[in-house]
Amino acid sequence: MTLGLYPGCSLKGSSREYTESVLAVAQACGIELVEIEDWNCCGATAAHNLNKELSLALPARILSLAEKQGMKEVVVPCAACYSRLTVTNHELAVHPELKQTITKGNGLDYKGSVEILNIIQMLDKYITPNLEGRIVKPFEHKVACYYGCLLVRPHEILKFDREEDPQSMDELMLKAGATPIDWAFKTECCGAGLSVSRTSSVGRLSGEILKDAADRGAEAVIVACPMCQSNLDMRREAINSYLGEKIDIPVLYVTQVLGLALGIDRKTLGLQRHFVAVNI
């Protein structure tokens, strides 16, 4: 089984451990992920903040490369990239004139045949059905699944899970042997888009999220987005100083948890790269 992979910039840089764990889990389950050759950055928040056309053209280049390289399904582990690519796919599909300017206008060629999977969709479709008997080290901890904003919204376009109180990640964690807690901040925004430029907002937004998870006894926060991870992990000092207390629950990727449960070693999964030590 071979699937396309769009890692995106974060997975190549600050979120290296996400890539490592995605690849490790896929490999353990006999799935080969092939990176789109010569992919470019999707432009993320910056592009659509400043320039609408750019925000569609950059992802369009990626989609057209994938199509050219014969990929039917492309896995996009980063929620922000997933959102940009899916929105672009949708916009191009419903506005033929727009598609014309964006693709032809930029010397691209895209028929619209590529299907995009976020990490949970990929796991649900290709990995969890074959988990029977493979969970060797159940992750027996209370976890708070954090979906963030970009994985489930806007529902009209993404059509993934429910917008309010989504469940897909929780179900996945159950399968990995964890106990997902019911909490209130599953889809609240962590402020990642302002992470560098307005750290004060991040302290407040991410602080509320971590505090609720901690208050309800979560031993780890589980994410599926490098932006969420780096915000909640790397900026923990700033968050703690905003909250005026020390919260030390680690922030793990879904794939890291699944990897641990499958018995993959911690190093392969990149646990040593976290800012907040993973002591569970």
Binding site: C9, S10, K12, G13, S14, S15, R16, D38, W39, N40, C41, G43, A44, T45, A46, A47, H48, N49, L50, N51, K52, E53, L54, S55, A57, L58, R61, G105, N106, G107, C149, L150, R153, P154, H155, E163, T187, E188, C189, G191, A192, G193, L194, V196, S197, R198, T199, S201, L205, M234, Q272, R273, H274, F275
Partner: protein, 189 residues
């Protein structure tokens, strides 16, 4: 009435918003649910529903205030407002348009300069290399904002954890990417 005849009737900025995004300000009935749920509304001088109301007035003074507001830059397009709006008003899409317009008309709020600088540095990084080069981004951003100390404590820690690449990754199709940039920049001028 066809969409065409509708927006020719709507005056001013609201009409422009309608034309470019399909968002119809007149559909907002000021319930305030967007402002209630917006994670950033307390940092905005005009919460989202307030912006909608300002648009509805077609008052040039208020329209100018929107374009000069901090609000439009603080919005993270988290889509919370849109997902809960009873009238399905796509505020984030509208915010994208307002930001773009504000920037083009040189009305961007001075408090937003770090945010804009960050976005610009980010895009520059992609324009040149095709991918985001995080160290480059930070250096560039700092040179734009003179926020030299901010985040400097993070960099070494990231480096130790193998989270920073010292050299940028250059893609082969760089020329294609920068042509995308120059084309869309021209269009948006």
């Amino acid at each position: 009435m066809s969409a065409e005849t509708i927006h020719s009737v709507i005056a001013g900025l609201a009409g422009e918003v309608m034309e470019h995004t399909g968002v119809e300000a007149s559909h907002c009935y000021q319930c305030g649910k967007c402002s209630a749920g917006c994670p950033l509304s307390e940092e905005m001088e005009y919460p989202p529903s307030y912006v909608m109301r300002m648009l509805q007035t077609s008052d040039p003074v208020l329209e100018d205030k929107i374009l000069r507001s901090f609000t439009i830059w603080v919005c993270l397009t988290c889509e919370m407002c849109y997902s809960r709006c009873p009238m399905s008003i796509d505020i984030p899409k509208m915010m994208d348009f307002l930001r773009e317009k504000s920037l083009k008309e040189g009305k961007a709020n001075h408090r937003a300069k770090h945010i804009i600088a960050f976005h610009k540095s980010f895009l520059d990084s992609i324009r040149i290399t095709g991918r985001l080069y995080e160290i480059g981004l930070l250096v560039d951003y700092k040179s734009r904002t003179f926020k030299v100390m901010q985040d400097m404590s993070l960099a070494p820690k990231m480096f130790v954890r193998g989270k920073l690449n010292i050299f940028p990754e250059m893609i082969k199709g760089r020329a294609g990417v920068s042509s995308i940039f120059s084309k869309s920049n021209k269009k948006s001028k």
